[in-house]
Every structure is written in structure tokens, then in C-alpha cells.
């Protein structure tokens, strides 16, 4: 541990890339900006790895490096530094963010090769990296919020990257506005914590939290619930999940990076980061758990019926995020972060694969016009199969371990219903993921002839990241195998962060390192989850490969359900009628009356009055120096008179 850790370099490198891009993007040319962006993120990844190693070199107890870049503001008793915190949790996050981010940057150089405005694309992408890393490394709520808003902004910009398309612009706005609701909650929660705790710095706040908030009290519960509202906004949980599927209007790498791997997990990270507070409020934890479970199941069901390849993945993302919240809710923060990591790997891979497919089929996204691509796109097919198996939860792929751990800890924590919901979600996940896989790569080709014409495997710039991610999603899970005495390596790595939580945890040691259940039961649980996954897969094969009419028959038999699923339970319509329209109309009314009449009236009135007054005053403005001198002297005489007053 020699010298300063220089943590600020991690977010600073992408920012530097942004500035360079702004300054001399034109000179660099298309390739240049690509290299610049990738290089910056790559360096940032290397530095993150280095910092993580430095952290690992420390003894477990004091594995937390706090580095204050500079004092941001000192206002009364509010003092905020721009300071970064590197502990095992944020280390995992920055590694995931920069690593996956780097791969996706590389991928983008290939995927956006034909995009005219590639410079702007990489500009936004790097800006996003900067904001995300700030969010993850932040040492206090305010800086975290800066990153939080930053990623929101970048997501908006990138969803609406093709701003010429009305759909894209609308989706961008939707994402932004829905997120505002969440951020509102976040802000309120932050204020509440400051009002009671008197500080926004994580370390201090967590230290004093048990003393200033009485456990389970109203204040802490409210604060954490508000924070969780922010999390639901960012991580697309019920009821604020609606923006994520639309966000698929953005370029596919963006969907992979922002709306699968990194940004949407910010909510989970935030909950894990503030687990101390959440564990002081069991009620909030319950809410988190239930919302997570509900979202997981709900989104999974919608995923069944979607025909747009990216939308299916979007809903699966929502449901996986639900799993993560579920884990956090039952106190298994380790499991949540673990799933976050593995999910980042395989979901990024899935999106990139989907992107590769779309790229190959020249922007065709409808599953019904695909099929039989396995032979034509061998690499894409292979890697995507890995990812599909991973998300379906088949051992030894990454998804299996994390999801199994979540379910186990849910079971262990005694939330039977949540556990069952999780299992059901697992079945559905396996089913719709394989539905997607089969419809895309197997069966007979349903391609349109001209799509057949220029069907081509993607360039290496896209394949290599796919490959790396595939490897990761295969072996990624081995970081946390079950049935290890004293917790698996990943758990032990994160132990310093969550150790504090374990003791204060409301319900018995709810984390996966040492499940409070006998080994036999755990074996049983593993078997069960593998079984349900296999079942889902088998049914998918039956319905979509061996005798496809099964699916059609199914559709006919429960048409209402299918229609409901296809239309996402009409949630959007519901919001449209309950929220959007009323707001729109009130706003319109206010504009018609208040703005044009009252506000403008006042403004114009002021203007008119000024005109009148000045019309009178300008008579004194003769422009003759003599007049002014006279008046001036009069004033002086008056002043003297004042002094002469006896």
C-alpha cells in the first residue's frame, strides 16, 4: 500500500476522454474517437483492478479506503467533500462496471460502424461511465446523487440517441420522467437522513445510525422507503418499471451497458450500500423483498408473450432485478450483489448477442421473422446459448449459483411465499429465455428473402467481447459455490461490508454465507431449482421446437391471458389514463389561464408601467450637461440644508 490510492483517477479517466472528445473530436475521426473511448475505459478498468488489489492487500477489518479529492461545499453544518470510498462492495462494482463497460465499448466500435454520429455516441457513453463510477465510488449521499442523476441524464441522452425517431425521443422522455419520480423519493430520503443524522457521509451516518434512529422507528422506515422509491425508479421495479422496456429504442450496446449491466443495478447497489439503515427498518426490508418478488414474477410473465427480442430481454432484466431486490429484502445482500455481478455478465452477453443478431439481420428485431440462425451465426449462437443456460439457472453456469443462493436465503429467512414466487419466476425465466433462443436460432428459418440476402456473422470487434463475456458467464458463478463452510470466497470478500449488518440484522443472519438450514435441505433446494429450470426448458422445447402447434393451441386456449401479457397488463394504458392525461390537461388548463393571463399579464403590466413612467422621466433627461449640473447643485444645497438643521 504505497502512496495515495488516487481513486479519483477511476472516474476521471472517462471524463478526460469526454473532454478530449469535445475538444478535438473532429480531428480524431471515426476510428479515433472509438479508440479514445475504449482506451479511457480500459485504463480505468486497469486502475480499478490495481486499486482492488491494493484493497485486497489490506487486512480484512480495515478494507475501506476513503480518499477526499477536495472539499466541495461547507454550508453551515452541512459539509460535503468530493470523496471516494473503496471497499469490497464498491470494488466489485467498479470492476463490473469498467470491465463490462470496456467490453461493450469495444463491441460498440463494431456495432456502430455504420453510424454517422459515432462521436456523439462515444461522448455520451464515456460520460455515462464517469457518472456511474462516481455513483459507485461516492462516499456520501450527495455525490452519489450526482452520479445517480448523471447516469439518468446519460440514459436519457442515449435512449434518445436517434432523436429523429419519434419513438426513441418519446422513450427517452418517458425514462427521464419516470426516473424523476424515483429521484424525488431519493432526495426526500436524503433530506430526512440529514435532518436526523446531521451528515451525509456514509461512514459517519452508519456509525451513528443505530443511536439516532430507534430500530424500526417511523423516521428510519420512512427514510429507507423513500430511498427504495428511488431504487425502484432507477432499477425499474414495480410500479415504476414501465420505462425500461421502452428504453430498448436506444442502440443495443446502450441497452446492454446501461439498461442491463450497470445503471439499472444502481438501485440494488444503493440498497446494499445503505443496508445498515435498511436493517434498522425491518418493515422497509419486507417491502423491498415483496416488491422484488412481485416484480420478478410479474415481469417474467410479461416476458412470455413478447415478440421483440430486445423487449423480452428487457422484461427478463426487470425480473432479474426483482430477484436482486428480493435477496436484499430477505437480508441476503451478498447474494444480491453476487447475482448483480453474474447478471451483469450474462445479461450483457444476451443483449450483445441480440445486438449481433439484429446487426446480422439488418435491424430486424421480431422473433417471428427469425429462426434457424444457428448455422449462419455460429459464434453468436454459441455464446448466446451459454448466456441462456446461465440465466435459466443450469449448473455450472453463473446464473445458477447466484439465483440458487437467493432462493436458498429466501427460504432460510422463512419467507415461504416469496420463495415460491421466486421458484415460479425461475420456471418462467427458463421458459421464455429458451423460447427466445429457440425462436431465434433453431427451427426453420422465417426470414424475409432480402434479410436472407445479406445475413452475415458480425465482425471480430463484436465477437471477441461476446466470447469474453461467455467465458465470464460460465465461470463467473464459481466465485460463490454453495455448501462452503464459513461462506464462499465472494461472501468472505464482501464480509467486511455486510458483517456490520449481520449482527443488527432483524431476522436471523439472513445472508447466504452460512444459511441457517441443514445441508440436506440445501441439497434439496438446489435439486429443486435445477429441476424447475429443466422443466421450463423442456416445455419450451416442446412448445417451440418439437411441435410448435402447442404454443398456438395454448395461445388460443387462454387468449385473454395472452392478450393481457402481450399488452403488459395494460399498465402503460393505466398510467396513461390515471396519471399522464390528468396531468397533461391540468397543465394545459394552467397554461391557458394562469400563464397567458396572470403571469404574462403581470410581466406585460410591469413593462407598460415602466414605459409610462419613463415617458414622464425622460422629460428630465434633456441631454444637456447644464441641466444635470443644475439639478445636482440643487441636491447638494438640499444636503447642506439638512446639515444646517439646528
Amino acid at each position: 500500500m504505497n502512496g495515495a490510492p488516487l481513486l479519483w483517477l477511476v472516474p476521471a479517466l472517462p471524463l478526460a476522454a469526454v473532454l478530449l472528445n469535445l475538444l478535438l473530436g473532429d480531428r480524431l475521426g471515426r476510428r479515433g474517437v472509438g479508440w479514445l473511448a475504449c482506451g479511457a475505459v480500459g485504463l480505468s478498468f486497469l486502475w480499478s483492478a490495481l486499486s482492488a488489489l491494493r484493497l485486497a492487500a489490506l487486512p480484512g477489518a480495515e478494507r475501506a479506503i476513503v480518499e477526499s479529492a477536495y472539499a466541495w461545499m461547507r454550508v453551515g453544518d452541512l459539509s460535503v467533500d468530493v470523496s471516494f470510498l473503496l471497499d469490497p462492495l464498491s470494488a466489485v462494482m467498479i470492476l463490473v462496471v469498467t470491465g463490462v463497460g470496456f467490453l461493450i465499448h469495444v463491441y460498440s466500435t463494431g456495432y456502430m460502424a455504420h453510424e454517422p454520429d459515432v462521436r456523439r455516441f462515444f461522448l455520451y457513453l464515456n460520460l455515462f461511465m464517469f457518472a456511474m463510477l462516481t455513483l459507485v465510488l461516492a462516499d456520501n449521499f450527495l455525490l452519489m446523487f450526482v452520479g445517480w442523476e448523471g447516469v439518468g441524464l446519460c440514459s436519457y441522452l442515449l435512449i434518445g440517441f436517434w432523436y429523429a425517431r419519434p419513438a426513441a425521443a418519446a422513450a427517452g422522455k418517458k425514462a427521464f420522467i419516470v426516473n424523476r419520480i424515483g429521484d424525488f423519493g431519493f432526495l426526500l430520503g436524503m433530506f430526512l437522513l440529514f435532518a436526523w443524522g446531521g451528515t451525509l457521509q456514509f461512514g459517519r451516518l452508519f456509525e451513528i445510525a443505530p443511536h439516532v434512529f430507534e430500530p424500526g422507528g417511523a423516521v428510519i422506515t420512512l427514510a429507507t422507503l423513500l430511498l427504495f422509491l428511488g431504487a425502484t425508479g432507477k432499477s425499474a421495479q414495480l410500479p415504476l418499471h414501465v420505462w425500461l422496456p421502452d428504453a430498448m429504442e436506444g442502440p443495443t450496446p446502450v441497452s446492454a451497458l446501461i439498461h442491463a449491466a450497470t445503471m439499472v443495478t444502481a438501485g440494488v447497489y444503493m440498497v446494499a450500500r445503505t443496508h445498515v439503515l435498511f436493517q434498522l427498518a425491518p418493515v422497509s426490508l419486507e417491502v423491498v423483498a415483496w416488491v422484488g418478488a412481485a416484480t420478478a414474477l410479474f415481469a417474467a410473465t410479461i416476458g412470455l408473450a413478447q415478440n421483440d427480442i430486445k423487449r423480452v430481454l428487457a422484461y427478463s432484466t426487470v425480473s432479474q432485478l426483482g430477484y436482486m431486490f428480493m435477496a436484499c429484502g430477505v437480508g441476503a445482500f451478498t447474494a444480491g450483489i453476487f447475482h448483480l455481478m453474474t447478471h451483469a455478465f450474462f445479461k450483457a452477453l444476451l443483449f450483445l448477442g441480440a445486438g449481433s443478431v439484429i446487426h446480422a439481420m439488418s435491424d430486424e428485431q421480431d422473433l417471428r421473422r427469425m429462426g434457424g440462425l444457428a448455422a449462419r451465426l455460429p459464434w453468436t449462437h454459441g455464446t448466446m446459448l451459454m448466456a441462456t443456460l446461465a440465466i435459466a439457472g443450469i449448473p455450472p453456469f453463473a446464473g445458477f449459483f447466484s439465483k440458487d443462493e437467493i432462493l436458498a436465503s429466501a427460504f432460510a429467512s422463512g419467507h415461504a411465499v416469496i420463495w415460491i414466487m421466486g421458484l415460479a419466476g425461475a420456471v418462467l425465466t427458463a421458459f421464455y429465455m429458451f423460447r427466445l433462443y429457440l425462436l431465434t436460432f433453431r427451427g426453420r428459418s422465417r426470414l424475409t428473402p432480402e434479410a436472407e440476402q445479406h445475413l452475415h456473422e458480425s465482425p471480430p470487434a463484436m465477437i471477441v467481447p461476446l466470447f469474453v463475456l461467455a467465458v465470464l458467464s460460465v465461470v463467473g458463478g464459481l466465485a460463490g459455490p454453495p455448501l462452503v463452510e464459513g461462506g464462499h470466497p465472494f461472501a468472505r470478500w464482501l464480509a467486511p461490508v455486510f458483517a456490520s449488518g449481520v449482527h443488527e440484522a432483524g431476522h436471523g443472519g439472513g445472508h447466504a454465507a452460512a444459511p441457517a438450514i441443514p445441508v440436506a435441505t440445501e441439497w434439496m433446494l438446489i435439486g429443486l431449482s435445477v429441476l424447475v429450470a429443466a422443466a421450463g426448458i423442456a416445455f419450451a422445447f416442446r412448445a417451440y421446437l418439437w411441435n410448435p402447434e402447442t404454443a398456438t393451441r395454448l395461445r388460443e386456449r387462454l387468449g385473454g391471458v395472452h392478450r393481457a401479457l402481450l399488452n403488459k397488463y395494460w399498465v402503460d394504458e393505466l398510467y396513461e389514463w390515471t396519471v399522464v392525461r390528468p396531468v397533461y390537461h391540468t397543465a394545459r388548463a394552467f397554461w391557458r389561464f394562469w400563464d397567458t393571463k396572470v403571469v404574462d399579464g403581470i410581466v406585460n403590466g410591469v413593462g407598460v408601467t415602466m414605459e409610462g413612467v419613463s415617458a414622464v422621466l425622460r422629460l428630465f433627461q434633456t441631454g444637456f450637461v447644464g441641466t444635470y449640473a443644475l439639478l445636482f447643485t440643487l441636491g447638494v444645497i438640499a444636503l447642506f440644508l439638512h446639515f444646517l438643521r439646528p
Binding site: T622, G623, F624, G626, T633
Partner: protein
């Protein structure tokens, strides 16, 4: 030893003469001269008090006033010359470009 009040009275009179000059004359240059008169009235007061209080600070101030007055005169006269070149007059009551 001259009594302070005489000096101050003299300075006041001088100042008022300057004021009257500014008020009654229409020739910009003469007005400028009257302003110089006022400045000198102030200087006289400075020196008188410096003498009265036996501190040189007053004289230092006079020094500064003179320097600034020199600069002011240079700029002002340059402006008047330009004004004359443009408007063919130095009479302030024939120039009201700033009329509201």
C-alpha cells in the same frame, strides 16, 4: 500662523466660484477649467488641514489629486477636441446626444 477658518472659507469660496462657473458657462473648456478650480479648492482644504494637524498626509493627498487631475485633463481635452471635430462646437448647450 493663518487661522484655519480663513483658509477653509477661502477654499469654500473658491469651490463655489467653480460651481458657478460650471453652471453659468456654456463653453466646455471653461467648464473644465471651473472643475479644475473646484479641485484646487479641495487641495487648499487638504493643505490647510495638513498644516493645522501637522501631518503630511493632507499634502500627499494633494499630490494624488494633482496627478489624477492631470490625467483627467488630458483625456477630457482629447474628448473635447474630438467633439469639436465632429460637431464643430464646444458649447454644451448645443450637444444633447444623450437626450432621453
Amino acid at each position: 500662523m493663518i487661522p484655519l477658518s480663513w483658509l477653509l472659507l477661502l477654499s469654500a469660496v473658491l469651490f463655489c466660484i467653480g460651481v458657478i462657473g460650471v453652471l453659468v458657462r456654456r463653453n466646455a473648456i471653461v467648464i473644465f477649467m471651473s472643475i479644475e478650480l473646484m479641485l484646487n479648492a479641495a487641495n487648499l482644504a487638504f493643505v490647510a488641514f495638513a498644516r493645522h494637524l501637522n501631518s503630511l498626509d493632507g499634502q500627499v493627498f494633494v499630490f494624488f489629486v494633482m496627478t489624477v487631475a492631470a490625467a483627467e485633463v488630458a483625456v477630457g481635452l482629447a474628448i473635447i477636441v474630438n467633439l469639436f471635430r465632429l460637431r464643430e462646437t464646444v458649447f454644451v448647450d448645443e450637444i444633447n446626444l444623450l437626450k432621453g
